[in-house]
Amino acid sequence: MENLREFGIVYLLVIILSCNSCMEDADLSGFLHSPDPVNERVKLSLEWNNKSDKDIYVQNADYTLLIAGDSEVGGTRNIDTLFAKSNKPGVAGFVLVGDITSGDPKGYGTLVHELDTKNHGPVYFILGNHDLFFDGWNNYYNYFGSSTYAFTINTGDNSDLYICLDSGNGTIGSRQLNWLEDLLKKERKNHRFCIIFTHVNFFREHHTFSANPLVDELHVLMDLFLRNSVDMVIMGHDHRRSEEIFGRTHYVTLDACFDGFEDASYLRLEIKNGKLISGFEDL
């Protein structure tokens, strides 16, 4: 019994220490209760979608999209670098797949200031769990609007579908799942490539205490993506890159890109000669 008790204590300590990276700025009330549950956020997001158009039209058949995760602003050096890169010719846009801030109002303020004062191409934000800390949803919604939306990039001859999901609570929730199923059913056939962005990574490439969507939710999503020929699913959260191809779908988890992160990188997604090509580039 004594050994079991000791093991339990050590295990709890390991769990707490494993959260070390997020503890400094974490809102620990989220262990007990989370305001603004995902289904409520999705409701507001879908209302927002009715009054906004996020589509991009590019002049060439080939284009590039930059994708990064876990910027956790505060620091602005890496995010400014990515903003500058997104403003280059041939780059259609820049996507940040969640944990864009640490959730506190100061981080949101800093990010909005950088957006207002630096040159950048079209920027798309996805919501992550950190963005919800300290009632962060209010700030996210006020500044950026929807956390569940789709946009297309149209080249004239082709159109590619990009879907942004809100997994800030570790689940996409029933309302968002219905929306996603409906969207894929109606729209997938009209587009060449279909790429999904979501914050919480699906697979345990390495042993980690960092959370994943529940197994039965993964079952539903993997089946949905297989049936609808989703080409890529791009995720963050784990701060450690990994790539898996499962069936027809390429699953990519990104490195973090916050300032000071040793392996900070971003993903360069190129649509070139009708093919999807992706590769990591260091920051």
């Binding site: 997020c22 995902v38 219905n178 197994v215 079952h219 089946d223 959260h237 069936g247």
Partner: protein, 245 residues
């Protein structure tokens, strides 16, 4: 039905026959239960029915079970099955079961999940503890892989090891006519969640007679605990009957 599936069903059937053999003079348990509940991804209420047979001699035991879906969104009927083998021994005064298990699940007509599990558990006066590890593989069915011309390397994803745990507090002595227990775990008979997705369960047990018990369980499943944004994910009720032969 592919060859591996047929083989598994034959093994489970053989285990069942073996368990029923009265000449073995050992304890046999049959557990049947019905689950009904709702999750964020179940598209309304779901219902599943499960049967588990256990055979136990003095120092070892085997267990096998299967689950059928009655009402559920996934387009399969035979959801899942498992077989396990365990050895019973004592570490000082503490009784320990140490075993291995194979769990097979049909995610959909085209997708499968398999788990290899090693587990250890102990039963004390009012507490039960278990600890284990599982390795999960998601894979395409052979039929789907052939139809879609998926290469061998892209047919499966195998995850790194996952910790399994349970802790159960039992209110009354086990021989009591009724009992209440509460548990905290990341697995159930036919699903192993990642270690960062725990589930909570309250159980009421009532012995109708010496071999026969009825029980009811209430399971609560949160999401997002380890992203520090915990939220409701699902809940289900289990109604079961346990027969000790």
């Amino acid at each position: 039905m592919n060859y591996a599936m047929k083989k598994l069903i034959i093994i489970l059937f053989s285990l069942s026959l073996f368990c029923f053999n009265p000449s073995l003079n050992a304890q046999f348990r049959l557990d049947g239960y019905l689950d009904f509940g709702k999750t964020q991804v179940s598209e309304g209420f779901y219902s599943q029915i499960s049967n588990i047979g256990s055979f136990e001699k003095q120092k070892w035991g085997i267990q096998a079970g299967y689950q059928f879906g009655l009402v559920q969104p996934q387009d399969v009927i035979f959801n899942s099955c498992f077989g396990s083998l365990y050895r019973k021994f004592r570490a000082g005064n503490v009784p320990i079961d140490l075993g291995v298990e194979y769990l097979w699940t049909a995610i959909s007509p085209d997708l499968r999940e398999t788990n290899w599990i090693i587990f250890a558990g102990t039963t004390l006066n009012h507490w039960q503890f278990g600890l284990g590890t599982s390795t999960r593989t998601y894979r395409l069915s052979n039929k789907a892989a052939n139809q879609l011309s998926i290469s061998e390397s892209d047919k499966r994803i195998t995850e790194k090891w996952n910790m399994m745990y349970h802790a159960i507090y039992v209110l009354k002595p086990y021989e009591n006519k009724w009992n209440l227990s509460a548990s905290f775990t990341n697995y159930d008979h036919f699903i192993v969640q990642q270690e960062n997705n725990p589930m909570f369960n309250l159980r009421f047990n009532y012995k109708i007679s010496s071999p026969l018990s009825l029980y009811s369980e209430l399971w609560y499943r949160p999401a997002g605990l380890m992203v520090i944004r915990v939220t409701y994910y699902g809940m289900f009720i289990r109604l079961g009957i346990l027969w000790k032969i």
